[in-house]
Symmetry: D3
Subunit: 238 residues, 6 copies
């Protein structure tokens, strides 16, 4: 029934390759089927100004998309002279999600910038960015700990994200672009490795939805996120 | 326990005054306690370009805040030369929420622009904007129907929104600024008059949250939105 | 003869309500007939950089207009990405006018920012902004003096402003939008409580004008400004 | 008493050289002492969009200043990414002043753009721009008439402008930079060849001023503008 | 002597992988050692406005760099709100170079946009963009010809580019970042498959250089470009 | 054969008038036939931030063009809100070229800004800017040396620039606009007084070119630059 032939609760093939950007303190290329996102982590010695002298650090994210990551070419934001509302909304979500998995006191007065650049888009780029961004973050923190710059691990748990939606009347996991375009209700679910919730964002694209539908999608998301955490662990060799 | 002395499931005093902007096709001033938002609706004869010749209309929203709506002055976005990511995220949410309550075929090839300008801010401005924006939209559509421009009512149901959150360990309804700043988990819940869900946005500000907490806040939101729908009806005299 | 039925030297109904914005150090809502402007004053501890270590303070102003303050919707300047030339010209005038009524040495090294936001426009918004802006300024300075932060009153006199013009061949006071659109010559006159001149700006919209016309409008303006000063006093209860 | 040794009612040496820009339809270099402004007129076949199908034309102006026209270097506006409020205010004044001397029906559906670029600044650049801009406009209109494109002369009269102010307690004509920086009250006076008024802009830089002072400066301006009109005629050889 | 151990006339390892972006009409990932650039070609049905009704087409290019493509993170241009002068200069060069190898009449009234995005930078990104951009262009044109949209091949010859410079007193081919930073004179040489010149850009970074040095570098470039053309052919399987 | 009647190796009439801007530390008006550029030098006490505490100085350049310097009016970059890619490319070239002729250690920790503003354009504006910009730089440095601020002359040699191209099949020197528009291959050649090369930029506008053509144009450029250096010396009276 799904355009890809997947079962309702099937993720797309997930692959996470680490160490793909030689200059970054942490990096990975995450592929969720045909959605490919390059994630890198940059460690900055100073926190943002509003955290000066608080002992706390910060994690922030920026998101971009190559012009031809999409089916028809999207105008380059640098040429347009500004980031779209969609871009800003996504990068705010990624930053918020990753910060929820970090003890900012343990991180200390520094900032880690996660760049998520979509090389190819087929739906679910913000979720892939969170899942891959966490791997880049983990690698950068590992480097800080290996160097003794940080003593106590500031990372509280895994963070991953997956989309779910109602496609052709059925709740499905991990929508690709074709499904996403046609979905009634859909949502993004950010969770911890322990299965707790960090962010739930559900929207009615057509008709409003019920609490039962919300719970059904949440159940699917739980399965999907568990598989993503396993993929993160495999990629990190832990 | 709440700074305002309200009970856990108390809304702030709600007031919706209609017809406050003489030039607009629909307008109201909504007050949720000390949060005051001016909402206006503008009818445009043409839909946005991507809907030309589709027979469908569009509802969109813009959001702004007077510089001294806030406790310390916020830089004027027009002077800064761009809308912040927060502003764009909010106005996208308002537009999406209101569109979910409209039959865009019945609206026909025209656009209604909802402007929500925060005159005074004390938490919950995006929810007040949705609830008040819907009233302005309803009034503008009434005008189109009274003039016979539209025959069949494109408005499917009421749309309202309320925030809930966990404050001092307790789930509370309709957070004001003091509560919002200190809340652990909080969320915004957009619902229809019939109690169905349009948008659910929950974020862990500190620790991740459980499904039970989500459901608890959802219950509170249901009560709050029912009261807001009643206030919309009273303001419209229906 | 006037569209509103007013006599040539009639002001519109003036109302000034103070204390309308809970966060501001001074605020008022001024109504000149259907022209409504929200004015707020913000006290900043530091003067602008060019006055550092001079012992002098500064008063500046910013001006904005809600998109639907006007008959047809005006594009939001924050969305357009810049303030129009008209906006900049008006806010420069407001700042200059208010500074002319202030002893900047007595004010000391701080800045007061006056925000004038037009809620509804029906002609004369820049004059209403000056008259109302002065009330907000007066209230903020009162607060500084009550706190003992400032000892000697830096406000030298009232400042108010009114427009006059030649409409249908007759000099009239306080043009509304209909008159303003059709006026030949018109001008804005900023004066002190003592009746001295702070700013005179007269433009020929059609044919050039004579010195006699200038003097005639100036006489009208004198009457109008005297009434505005009385309204300022009444609003402040002095 | 004046830094330059001029008498109170002395203009600086005025020179207007025409035909200085080979590509422009009209051009001149106007020098008011050490203030030098290059003015050019460009004829565009189409009026601005808001005049389409009205039979009327438009005259507009743009103003700029070379970075090192001033004593200390001014940041290039093209590099800063926007025109300052001062620039916009000045170019709006130039356009308004020149339009007041034109019959826009006789001009027909076309636009003339006057560019005024300050090569060297020593006070009074906006007035010099108006006086020189009018010469460029006159030359461009002459070209249209010589070609038979326009039959009836749309130029109603000369337009010129001069500043006056109170310097060291005395009313003086045509302030240079040193005087302008120290002046109490000053103003710009735009007049027709017949001595009628197009624009009067007076500001109290320090203390407010009286009607008598206004009239005194206006008298001085009348003398100055008469001399400028003579210089325009001489430059045009009429 | 070279940091990489390469001989003076050694290229870095070149690899060109085609078909890497599923949505693009042509794409490749070119690697020159540690410099990696993703190149895509987008076919647009319409030429730019200035070519309307001329029968001619256009090839243009845009260039970007992921923030962490570089050793220390570079600010994202979309966030900065504009493309740097360097970026604009590079993308103008790429477009000019590729157009020089195309018969724009044979291409017909359409535009091909080449996007070159640097995934990892180690010197020579503009040259790699030209060499890889040509492969993407070739693939897109192949698609147009296969579809019969274009009958006569508009591509005149291969286009490739290589940098050369004087490093440690010796002329070297294909500078990497370490060499580029320390090079005295360096240049970029764009050539055709037949060995003719399209663009020569040489700059003295330190002391001025002689005609002999220019010719020496040109000889090196000829060798390098011949090898790049071979790599293009291998990648295309021709 | 040339539109101007010049011989193949003729420069246009060159004139360099110094001291034309009273505020600048150095200035000249350079005319290459109908191409006129105003060049000024501004001495700033501080170097750019990246040179702080290095003992080195910097020379930078900005380039602009009056809107009606060109045959049809060019949009004012300050009004457009950004400098074009062409402008940025040119000003980067001017800065790079002038720096190549300066010993930045001898200059010391200060910056000299060269502004080149095209008053009238007829081809070759970037070359005229370099040649005239060097004269302005020389004059500013003379002032620093006369004041004893700098002891050892930081200027290593003259810097001048000239364009050459293939017009109607013949290599010609110093292209004017008509020739430039029709030229096949053309280039800009920046050289020192001693005849060494600082920058060579050659582009195939149509067909690719050969090494012989490059050398032929380089020979022409050598003659042209020698004449320009003579003109610089004459203007400076040395």
């Amino acid at each position: 029934m799904r355009p890809s032939g997947r079962k309702l609760s099937d993720l797309r093939t997930v692959s996470i390759e680490t160490g793909v950007m030689k200059h970054a303190e942490g990096s990975c290329l995450i592929k969720m089927g045909e959605t490919h996102v390059l994630c890198s982590a940059t460690i900055e010695d100073k926190p943002p100004p509003f955290l000066k002298n608080t002992g706390q650090g910060w994690v922030t994210a920026e998101y971009g998309m190559l012009p031809r990551a999409t089916n028809s070419r999207t105008r380059r934001e640098a040429a347009a002279g500004k980031q779209s509302g969609r871009t800003q909304e996504i990068q705010r979500l990624i930053g918020r999600a990753l910060r929820a998995g970090v003890d900012r006191n343990a991180l200390g007065e520094r900032q880690i910038v996660i760049d998520c650049d979509v090389i190819q888009a087929d739906g679910g780029t913000r979720c892939a960015s969170i899942t891959g961004g966490w791997v880049a973050l983990r690698l950068a923190v590992n480097k800080l700990m290996a160097a003794g710059t940080i003593v106590s691990d500031p990372i509280l748990d895994h963070v991953s994200a997956i989309s779910c939606g109602v496609y052709a009347g059925q709740p499905v996991l991990d929508l690709d672009y074709l499904e996403d375009s046609a979905a009634g209700t859909d949502g993004n679910f950010v969770m911890t490795g322990a299965g707790r919730l960090i962010e739930v964002q559900m929207s009615a694209e057509g008709a409003a939805f019920s609490q039962e539908e919300l719970l059904h999608l949440l159940d699917l998301a739980r399965t999907g996120n568990a598989a993503l955490v396993a993929a993160q662990k495999a990629a990190l060799g832990v």
